[in-house]
Point group: C2
Chain length 360, copies 2
């Protein structure tokens, strides 16, 4: 079912083959974007949750991930010591910056789910499409006692975690460790440390190797089961004594990361995707594959978000001295999010299969 290679039939290159220069240009652009976002983040101040500050942090993470991924995929074309030293630092940075946003998004997801489960018409169901970003926390006026208490408990726990993550991010941005990362990125913005042979080397085999790692990982997924609706797999072990995260989720999370690396490698060689201008010099094949890979990637993001939300609900249920009604609501919520996990796997399987069928 899974194809072994993504690139050959869908390679959007109509012009000359990309070289190490394309790669250097991409890294420079991402480094410049990183520095711009950093400046913006400093200017907007560190007010937690201010829209500009959130945007700047997101842009910082975005370029940090792209730099790190590109260094990884094309590492034989780059100064090894330098890029090997830089990658864990970028991972630390984007991980630290991501946490605050993740807790906020998790809380929003769980409160929306509680409203849906309480039959509140005011909030859309996640499965009816992507949930709109709530400007404020949904009110809990029409929840049952158990659901309201569960919502309040999650609110307390995740808001505390978010506040801590915010402090940790501020502390990280003021640390000498961070300044060393920023200095390295500044170097990258002016002079990419390519190996002597890289400028004229063909980088495509490295991108192809990344594709292969992705396809290998996908072919190890239980896609036949995932493609069978209501297979009830995601909730197996839902009451097992092991705490979250579920071991069954790990290969899906891994595919999510490999799919991201695949996407960044394509961006590096063929230019960044620009959904606003789909006609800009891209072939139909490339655009079609982008749409499919994007929906596969979105399914895996949803998979990760739902898995983490389920774990948060189950963790909240272990809070001492909660009322049975609260625990019951958290159990329903946990199972609901594990079904979202299963639904996301089904959605991934559907996207991926379309792709495999679409490219002979």
């Amino acid at each position: 079912m899974a194809q072994r290679h993504l690139d050959p039939p869908t390679d959007p290159t109509a012009g000359p083959a990309p070289t190490g220069d394309a790669l250097a240009g991409y890294l420079r652009a991402q480094a410049t974007e990183f520095l711009r976002s950093l400046r913006q983040h400093r200017e907007t101040g560190a007010v937690s949750g201010s829209e500009d500050s959130v945007d700047a942090a997101r842009a910082l993470r975005r370029s940090a991930r792209r730099i790190s991924g590109t260094l990884h995929t094309f590492r034989p074309l780059l100064d090894t010591d330098w890029s090997e030293a830089m990658r864990p630092e970028l991972a630390w940075l984007s991980g630290t910056l991501a946490r605050e946003h993740a807790y906020a998004a998790r809380l929003e997801r769980l409160l929306l789910a509680l409203h849906r489960l309480s039959g509140s018409a005011a909030f859309p169901t996640p499965s009816a499409g992507p949930a709109p970003r709530a400007q404020t926390s949904p009110d809990r006026g029409n929840l049952t006692v158990g659901a309201a208490k569960a919502g309040a408990l999650l609110d307390r726990q995740l808001t505390l975690a978010r506040t801590r993550a915010h402090s940790a991010a501020l502390q990280a941005l003021g640390s000498s460790r961070f300044h060393a990362v920023a200095d390295s990125v500044a170097v990258l913005a002016s002079e990419v440390p390519l190996t002597p042979a890289a400028a004229t080397a063909d980088p495509r085999p490295f991108a192809a190797a990344a594709d292969e790692r992705l396809c290998d990982a996908v072919s190890a997924l239980p896609l036949v089961t995932a493609g069978h609706p209501y297979n009830a797999e995601a909730l197996i072990h839902g009451l097992s004594p092991d705490t979250a995260p579920h071991p069954q989720d790990a290969p899906w999370h891994q595919v999510r990361l490999l799919l991201r690396l695949h996407r960044y490698a394509r961006e590096a060689l063929y230019g960044e995707e620009d959904t606003a201008l789909p006609e800009r010099g891209r072939e139909l094949g490339g655009a079609r594959v982008d749409v499919r890979l994007r929906s596969a990637g979105q399914a895996l993001n949803r998979h990760r978000d739902a898995a983490e939300a389920a774990a948060a609900a189950s963790s909240a249920a272990r809070t001492p001295r909660i009322a049975p009604a609260t625990a019951y609501a958290l159990g329903v919520l946990h199972a609901d999010q594990r079904h979202e996990v299963e639904a996301a796997r089904f959605a991934f399987q559907q996207s991926w299969q379309k792709e495999a069928v679409g490219t002979p």
Copy 2:
């Protein structure tokens, strides 16, 4: 999507058109079967759960349902006063006899689900196919504390309900009300009270009207939503303050009953289906439709069973002074069974659509 008529293209009648005599023969046969089962039930004694006694009670219910359904569908061909008086009595009887079995099956379903949710490999998942009838209650050795306590609570509550239902059934079988029913059935076994015109009348329009009622009810179901996997509809209101049963389930339960009436009407006119001998004088078309209707009916049985199991879990969670871990496990279990409800709707939609597509 739903077709308006089931019969015309799939009518398995290759011989002469059925008459009121066919109907009388069917009713006599069912009445005879009722009396035979009743004798068997008395002979096996009233030991709760003995295999023969369970089989006899099932056979009694089976013929009571068929007699009642046939009286309903073909009531203009039968003595009105007599059949109108008999139907509620048959419904009372089969309802009373069904309860004991239903509680036992519900407990078994819930304990199997708890095992599946605890990651126990010893028990199959319901979605992997029909669960084998467990000879004994599954042990709870490898459940978590919460799941084990939830299992023990459900065991206590449903076993008590089952015991009460058993006593009620025994009491019913000894009552003068029951003896009056048995007397009426004995009359039916020798002389079916047809109207004077019925012997030569065409009973098919009454069967067609039953089909139409079925198709009308199906077309009122939210089949488009149900056919979209993971629509998350069944768990909406999962935490609502209204107690079970869910109002959204009612139209599906209604279709289940109408599908049963449709099946009995076919049996009455064209002979009982015999899955052991599919070649016995049945056309391919008839056999194919039987398989589809059977799978649609099985989906709706599963829908009913899962809905009632979900309600039992949620009702157990309202037991005073239970531990939060117990309540949490019951919440997970409730949501799991509501997802079974959703899965059953999906399965029904798939069977029904196949039928509509298969018969042009």
